[in-house]
């Protein structure tokens, strides 16, 4: 009976998706005609305004466009990177102003259509790996500045590689259904009840900064439900956990003050934690270059995120205490010299593990991978010669890594569930990028 009901639900869902998809194709399929730069309402001279270009450069940095649109070792903004998703690989396009392979023939109208509406030059629905779910909030003026900056870059001739998505994701119009579920078009609307600083922060976090694209859980269709705002989530394929960003009780940043947030974004580390994995890239390429005013605005907004419900503590079916004891021994030998017996680290040098959401996040992935990979805090202008942690992948067995991670997840004030050896062996194999 239960199985039958599940089957029925599946069939109904499939039909519903198909209907929405067909409607989407009917209403949105094709339609938009590309606008040539000559036909654009924006004069060519406007796009050459140095002040506008400079402002656009800053915004493109804040949005970290280069983070995706530049391949490892590749020319800036020339695309070529393959973005791995659970649905297949999506090649990141060239956004340098090359006429054949980039945005050289695009008008501002085309750019706005992509950024704000999530549609390509010919009206095709764009895959939301391009985070237009967030960028739709970017204002028209800011988008114009960004476009002017991108058009001022040296053109790089680099054709895109083919889309590598499986059926049905390869059918672009199936995105009409996805958009109906997860996409709400519209520029950011300031909240009059809040300060200008708060509104600036909300605009940056929700819009250009697209923080929610990583810092919220994605469901089986790859969308982030509307009510899940910055509540933390596992980044698909990359296998890192982007923590919850609330500073209130049970939040991932519980106890962080505004300066801690500013410090992390500006220098790569704060008294409460250090940026690593994908966030280290974001700090180096994007947030360290933000103005202090913008960083404080971001911090002020994050500080207003609500408290979270307390985590439900599940009783582990495994023998927790034996593993934790084994872990304490490993910790004393390998970790305590830097992170301290009390798990409080050394301010500004080694991050505390006590109360650190990278240690206690739900999956344990971050702590496991940090132990295996070690690595440097990001090198930034404010912290050009960062301290580092040795990798333990070649020194500790899966059992010892699982033990020490379990220990730090349960020691001091931490109360997260233990991790298993099989988790460690999984993340030993995870690719870096």
């Amino acid at each position: 009976m239960k199985a039958f009901r599940r089957l029925l639900l599946l069939v109904v869902t499939c039909i519903a998706l198909l209907v929405v998809g067909l409607l989407g194709w009917f209403f949105f399929g094709g339609g938009h005609q590309p606008t040539s730069p000559a036909m654009s309402k924006v004069a060519a001279a406007t796009l050459r305004d140095p002040a506008l270009i400079a402002r656009g450069g800053y915004l493109v940095t804040v949005g970290d466009c280069a983070g995706c649109h530049t391949a490892q070792g590749g020319a800036g903004f020339a695309g070529g990177r393959l973005l791995a998703t659970p649905f297949g690989n999506i090649p990141v396009p060239n956004i340098s102003p090359d006429r054949e392979t980039g945005l050289g023939n695009w008008s501002f109208e085309d750019f706005w259509q992509a950024l704000h509406v999530g549609k390509g030059r010919h009206g095709e629905l764009l895959y939301p790996a391009f985070s237009y779910t967030s960028y739709t909030k970017v204002t028209h003026d800011d988008a114009l500045a960004m476009f002017a900056y991108l058009q001022s870059l040296p053109p790089v001739h680099q054709p895109a590689t083919a889309l590598a998505l499986g059926f049905p994701y390869s059918v672009r119009n199936s995105l009409a259904a996805w958009r109906a579920l997860y996409f709400k078009e519209g520029v950011f609307q300031p909240d009059q009840g809040q300060t200008a600083q708060w509104n600036r922060g909300a605009y940056l976090v929700q819009g250009l900064g697209h923080c929610n694209e990583c810092h919220a859980a994605r469901d089986s269709l790859g969308g982030t439900p509307q009510d899940e705002h910055l509540t933390g989530g596992q980044i698909p394929q990359q296998n890192w956990y982007a923590p919850d960003l609330s500073t209130q009780s049970n939040g991932g940043l519980q106890g962080w003050n505004e300066q801690d947030i500013v410090d992390l974004l500006k220098t790569g580390q704060s008294a409460k934690g250090v940026a690593f994995g994908p966030m280290a890239d974001v700090v180096v390429q994007s947030t360290q270059h933000m103005t202090d005013a913008d960083l404080h605005a971001v911090a002020s907004y994050l500080h207003s995120l609500p408290a979270r419900p307390p985590p439900v503590e599940e009783k582990s079916p495994f023998n927790t205490s034996a593993r934790v004891e084994q872990g304490e021994q490993v910790y004393t030998q390998r970790c305590a010299d830097c992170h301290g017996k009390d798990g409080n680290g050394i301010a500004g040098i080694y991050p505390p593990l006590n109360g650190n959401s990278s240690v206690t996040e739900p999956t344990g992935i971050n702590a496991i991978r940090a132990v295996l990979l070690g690595g440097f805090a990001p090198a930034t202008s404010a912290n050009p010669r960062p301290y580092s942690m040795p990798p333990f992948a070649q020194k500790l067995s899966d059992s010892d890594v699982a033990a020490v991670v379990s220990y730090i997840r349960r020691a001091w004030t931490n109360k997260a569930p233990i991790v298993q050896e099989r988790d460690v062996s999984t993340y030993r194999q995870t690719p870096i990028d």
């Binding site: 305590a336 301290g340 690595g375 090198a379 010669r385």
Partner: protein, 248 residues
């Protein structure tokens, strides 16, 4: 009067008590809030965890290469190649991913300046004929197969050449053979002139064993420093006899 004396005595007594207490409990206190030396060595434990505090490598493991005494230009080039993905090795790509050019230069100079004794890493059992083949390839090359001698670029004593040709001495067999393999499979590459990629592709699988075994077994020369820049004229076309390719 009496109280005064007691007070006068109490002060030094208290100091002694504090001193004793700090001696007794000081060490455990230090573990709670460890002090960290502000040295480059302390900052780069991510490097030295595998390559050794002085970049001596870990000969026991047979893999992590020695960095001590290698030309700084070569070491910087490797970090840049890991960053750009020309050279593939996930742990290294992750480690150097966000280092600045200035920091990489400083780290390279640190390892380049280290002088620590070499130690031998485990050698596979190979037949004498293989060793002979290895010696021949290293010192004379194989003109018929268009393979130049290692010494023609890496220096007669194989100690490398400033600024960017690495020494081949004191490296583990596993490391050398895996690198030659990587050059062939394009998981190790670098910027022009790409000589090693061409040379490695001329080697047969048994040649790789031979060269790696002979290099790893070699006695160390008296002077292990890289030769000064310009002292070795790199032969044209990567030293490859006759025209095999442009080098690119």
């Amino acid at each position: 009067m009496n109280t005064n004396v007691r007070l006068r005595l109490a002060k030094p007594f208290g100091t002694v008590l504090l001193l004793v207490a700090s001696l007794l409990f000081g060490s455990s206190h230090a573990t709670d809030a460890p002090t960290v030396p502000d040295t480059l060595q302390q900052r780069i434990v991510a490097c030295t965890g595998c390559h050794g505090v002085h970049g001596e490598g870990t000969p026991g493991s047979g893999f992590f290469p020695r960095l001590a005494g290698k030309p700084a230009g070569y070491l910087v080039r490797q970090m840049q190649d890991f960053q750009s993905g020309l050279r593939k090795y996930a742990p290294m790509e992750y480690t150097v991913r966000q280092l600045s050019p200035a920091y990489m230069q400083e780290i390279a100079e640190y390892f380049s300046a280290q002088q620590v004794p070499y130690s031998r890493s485990p050698l596979p059992r190979v037949p004498a004929a293989t060793m002979q083949r290895g010696e021949q390839l290293v010192n004379k090359g194989d003109p018929d197969r268009k393979i130049p001698a290692c010494v023609s670029c890496h220096g007669t004593q194989l100690t490398g050449v400033e600024p960017s040709t690495p020494g081949l001495i004191g490296l583990p067999y596993d490391y050398i053979s895996s690198q030659l393999g990587s050059w062939r499979t394009h998981t190790r590459a670098t910027v022009a002139p790409y000589c090693m990629s061409i040379v490695a592709n001329q080697l047969s699988v048994s040649d790789i064993t031979a060269v790696s075994a002979w290099l790893a077994s070699r006695e160390l020369p008296a002077d292990t420093r890289p030769l000064p820049a310009g002292s070795v004229k790199q032969p044209p076309s990567c030293g490859i006899p006759a025209a095999v390719g442009s080098g690119a």
